[in-house]
């Protein structure tokens, strides 16, 4: 006991398939760790008993066919799960029990995975530190001088849970960096696939044109396996890409000889810590050592990505969140008439950051401001995408840091929305352009907090992204420094 939770997903599944480990033992080990890890506040809902009985069923009926057979997996509480409460970490969805299962999670269970529970996140995935959750912030398994650190966001419960071995792998969602930034903050791997690669059906929507589900795992191979499991065309999602099914794990290899890697000069930010610049430089030399060709490139509209994002994402969110009105599900406040009921419900049901974004989104779409803000942002979005289209004529992938800093202290940026938003400076452009990008753990800062490097690929070229990351992973030789201090 105890060692099972250290295994990677690929290893665990192969041991379950070969009956070296039973699905029940695997599940029990995770369950007992989860029970002892309440301090991290990673789970919003636990389904531990259910998980145990599902695991037993796998052993009893020898259901070892699936590529995730017996893998105990908790998922971000943004995925609707049948008969399991789904809240998006918001009070307004408290008590909502879907009668349906999201496409991505149903693929997990079809392939043999077992649901451990629902993971905490920023409310409606709006945040970069997991501090906007209605159920309290998640605590990073990494600690600095006894001070609690954020796990990143919005998939902060996911990142902390993988880093703390509370789930063998997980799926998060990424609208502006919500998979990659928390992955970087907790020393794990996180991949945002190409927009359209994974179905959005059944995922609580934040910004529909940007949202994308993706894996968060202990290493690159696990990431490839998870992507194999969750990707694919879904006729229930009109924006889902009708591409042929690929085999990412099978085609995973470290041969990146001759691969052209772009280094964008615009990603050198003013007050970026030196250790991040150094790590980036190291990444460049590791790439070279692996036989890749480094090319210095320009993405001139990079600086406009964040402002563009903070118009488009809130605009879509203001509309996507209009359905939370207290009528059909979730929380409802009283009111003397319909409008007062709506206003009270939404005012008490949403947290501050969500309200802020709804307000901004409503404003930029309102008559008289649409052209100046929303239309302008869509135009700049085109320019940002054009930047990438152009450089991808010359390079196969792009290497950047994942975030401009390491994880920060809880409460440090809470009162300054803009400084919080700046955390996503390197991740947001990728969502705007709809590209695939991975964050892999690449080292530590002086205080011992993990740092990540990001590899960005061409649309639907996750294989190159994964292969580059796989090559880099070997060079980096990252070892988790999580100390189980909370147990």
């Amino acid at each position: 006991m105890g060692e099972i939770t250290k295994l990677t997903l690929v290893n665990l599944v192969s041991k379950i398939k070969s009956k070296e480990i039973s699905a029940l033992d695997a599940c029990s080990d995770y369950v007992s760790r989860i029970v002892k890890s309440k301090k991290l506040n990673t789970f919003v809902t636990e389904t531990l008993e259910q998980a145990i009985s599902s695991a037993k069923k796998i052993d009893d009926n020898n259901l070892k066919e699936g590529i995730l057979s017996g893998a105990p997996i908790a998922v971000k509480d943004l995925f609707c799960t049948i008969n399991v409460e789904t809240t998006a970490s918001s009070k307004i969805l408290k008590g909502f029990v879907p009668t349906y299962e999201s496409t991505v999670t149903s693929k997990l269970w079809e392939r043999g995975a077992v649901l451990l529970g629902k993971l905490n996140c920023d409310e409606f995935a709006m945040g970069s530190s997991n501090e906007t959750s209605a159920f309290g912030n998640v605590i990073n398994p990494y600690k600095v001088n006894d001070e609690n650190i954020v796990p990143g966001g919005s998939s902060g419960g996911c990142s902390a849970a993988v880093a703390a071995d509370l789930t063998v792998a997980t799926v998060g969602t990424d609208t502006g960096g919500s998979i990659r930034q928390p992955a970087a903050f907790t020393g794990i791997v996180g991949l945002k696939p190409t927009y359209g690669r994974c179905s959005r059906w059944g995922i609580v929507a934040f910004a529909s044109s940007l949202d994308q589900a993706g894996p968060m795992t202990k290493n690159v191979s696990d990431c490839a396996l998870m992507l194999d499991a969750i990707s694919g065309f879904d006729e229930k999602d009109s924006t889902s890409a009708n591409t042929k099914k690929e085999e990412f794990l099978k085609n995973l290899n470290r041969n990146i000889k001759g691969l052209k890697i772009g280094i964008p000069k615009e990603y050198i930010v003013d007050d970026m810590p030196k250790e991040i610049q150094d790590l980036w430089d190291k990444g460049i030399s590791w790439m070279k050592e692996s036989g890749a060709i480094i090319k210095y490139i320009s993405l001139p509209h990079t600086k406009y990505a964040l402002p563009t994002y903070y118009i488009i994402a809130p605009a879509e969110a203001s509309s996507n969140l209009a359905r939370y009105d207290g009528v059909r599900y979730g929380f409802r406040a009283s009111g003397k008439d319909l409008n007062e009921m709506y206003e009270n419900t939404r005012s008490l049901g949403f947290g501050n950051e969500v309200k802020r974004r709804i307000m901004i989104g409503t404003y930029v779409l309102s008559s008289g401001y649409y052209d100046a803000y929303y239309l302008k942002a869509q135009q700049v979005r085109r320019l940002i995408k054009n930047d990438f289209d152009l450089v991808f004529k010359d390079v196969d992938a792009i290497l950047t840091p994942t975030a401009p800093s390491s994880a920060f202290k809880i409460g440090e940026k809470k009162d300054d929305p803009i400084s919080m938003y700046l955390n996503d400076v390197f991740t947001v452009p990728i969502n705007l352009a709809g590209l695939p990008a991975i964050s892999i753990p690449a080292g530590f800062d002086q205080s011992g907090l993990p740092l990540g490097l990001q590899i960005i690929g061409k649309p639907f070229d996750e294989q190159t992204v994964l292969n580059s990351a796989y090559a880099l992973e070997e060079k980096i030789g990252f070892k988790s420094q999580v100390k189980d201090w909370w147990m």
Partner: protein, 488 residues
């Protein structure tokens, strides 16, 4: 004739006023499933039994468009002689309401699927062409019931997400009469196309009516008010009259019209400002990020074009040119798809002109009297065509035919059987008639002499005698011929 000149002007204290009307018609697309979900569109089911997760706006649900609804919209566009846009987009129209679960309606704002077209109206003062601004696809909302509980309203989402075509007409209409004709013609075109059943009492066809007034002769448009969701032609006409007069009174008293949304109260026959729409004017339209632009290729449009049935205007021309129907008769026959189909059924086995006459005079007389539509006609098309053939081939006279028709109305019986049973068959054997006529001549020698000496008016006396002898069943044409010959 006064009828032949347009003269709908309202009298105010300061003179005559012209009424300017434009309609936004919401027509339910005839389809099995909803626009963005697989729920049934059936009318009259139990509340909340035709609601998918998408229709109830459950978290994470996404719209997927129904191909057939796109075809229906294109078909309707072609029927309105309109431009089909090969590129169109779906936008979200954002507003909060209890029967709008998403908090937005998916509609088409900037790029509608159909552009400008037209509808031709037959008015007593001539044909009038009314412009169509655009046609776009959108979702219907659910239904709120306000009268079931003193404190609460109830929400039924069965209708939520059903495909609608919003057909926006130009402000070309000038009278309640024209509005009536416009709605009827539009409905008729859609029924010919099978794109909307047009059942107004089921809500399949409703209109927002925009009304403004201006002094007769003025070229400037006044401020308009929009009367929401009127669901019968009669109510539209009443609402327009009320609203126009209200606006005239305000202006003549020195006031100004507020551009606003109003509700027509059918019980009080008045319009009033809608409180619930106070801040509805900022809909924050933006492209729906859950959907992609709708791009139609020309082959798709051409294929639909090929399936278009003959439409009322073309049919009218054909009936006039090929069958010699009068413009008046033809426009009645084509006015409704069901009528024209009935007509075609009657005429194809009988006589085009007689069929039109008999339908318009006799059949519609009965239907009007009994308050029935052609679908419930007591006389089937087959039987009516038989009756017409009996007249045509001389088996019965026109006069007898009316008696037979009356009996047909009673129990939709085959006229041949009725004639057989009641012995109403026309006596058309020339030999028999000759014997009868010979007898009449023999018994009325004095009249024959008078006739031959020039009193030709007596001819009808002989005809009358012959009819009397044959109990009215003698073939009048034959009797005429024989008498003419014998009295020479």
């Amino acid at each position: 004739m006064a009828d032949n000149k347009f003269d709908y002007y309202l009298d105010g204290k300061t003179g005559k006023w012209e009424v300017i009307i434009g309609l936004e018609v919401h027509a339910q697309v005839t389809s099995r499933a909803k626009l963005f979900s697989g729920s049934s569109t059936k009318f009259g089911s139990d509340p909340n039994t035709q609601v998918s997760l998408v229709d109830a706006a459950m978290p994470g649900m996404l719209p997927v468009i129904n191909k057939f609804c796109i075809e229906q919209a294109v078909k309707t566009g072609l029927g309105l002689k309109a431009k089909i846009n090969t590129f169109s987009k779906f936008d979200r129209k954002n507003y909060f309401y209890a029967d709008l679960p998403q908090g937005y309606q998916i509609s088409q704002f900037k790029f509608p699927i159909v552009g400008e077209g037209e509808i031709v109206l037959d008015m007593p003062y001539g044909t009038k062409v009314v412009g169509i601004e655009r046609l776009h696809l959108e979702q219907d909302a659910g239904k709120s019931l306000h009268d079931q509980d003193p404190e609460n309203s109830f929400v039924d989402l069965n209708r939520s997400g059903i495909a609608l075509m919003e057909i926006v007409g130009k402000p070309d209409l000038r009278s309640p009469e024209e509005v009536g004709q416009y709605v009827k013609k539009l409905r008729s075109i859609m029924r010919y196309l099978n794109t909307c059943d047009g059942n107004m009492d089921e809500g399949s066809l409703r209109a927002d009516v925009n009304v403004s007034v201006r002094k007769q002769g003025s070229q400037q448009l006044g401020t308009r008010c929009e009367i929401k969701n009127v669901n019968s032609i009669k109510f539209m006409q009443q609402a327009i009259e009320y609203e126009a007069k209200r606006q005239i009174d305000i202006i003549e008293d020195g006031g100004t019209i507020n551009q606003e949304t109003r509700l027509y109260d059918t019980k009080k026959n008045e319009t009033r400002s809608m409180r619930s729409k106070e801040d509805a004017h900022d809909y924050r339209y933006f492209p729906d990020p859950d959907l992609l632009p709708l791009v139609l290729d020309s082959e798709f449009i051409e294929n639909i074009k090929k399936t278009l049935p003959e439409l009322p205007d073309e049919k009218k021309l054909r009936l006039m040119n090929d069958f010699g129907l009068s413009s008046y008769d033809a426009s009645i026959i084509i006015s409704e798809k069901d009528i024209s189909e009935y007509y075609e059924d009657v005429a194809k086995n009988s006589d085009y002109k007689l069929a039109a006459n008999w339908m318009i005079v006799e059949l519609f007389g009965i239907l009007n009297k009994e308050g029935k539509g052609i679908k419930d006609s007591p006389v089937s098309a087959v039987n009516l065509s038989k009756l017409i053939n009996l007249i045509k081939n001389g088996t019965i006279s026109g006069k007898i035919a009316k008696t037979v028709f009356e009996q047909m109305v009673q129990k939709n019986e085959n006229p041949e059987v009725i004639i057989e049973k009641s012995g109403l068959k026309q006596q058309s054997d020339p030999k028999e008639l000759e014997i009868i006529i010979d007898n009449i001549i023999k018994n009325n020698q004095d009249k024959v002499i008078e006739y031959k000496s020039g009193k030709i008016k007596l001819f009808s006396f002989f005809v009358g005698q012959a009819m009397k002898e044959t109990a009215g069943k003698g073939n009048p044409q034959l009797i005429n011929n024989i008498l003419t010959k014998k009295l020479k």
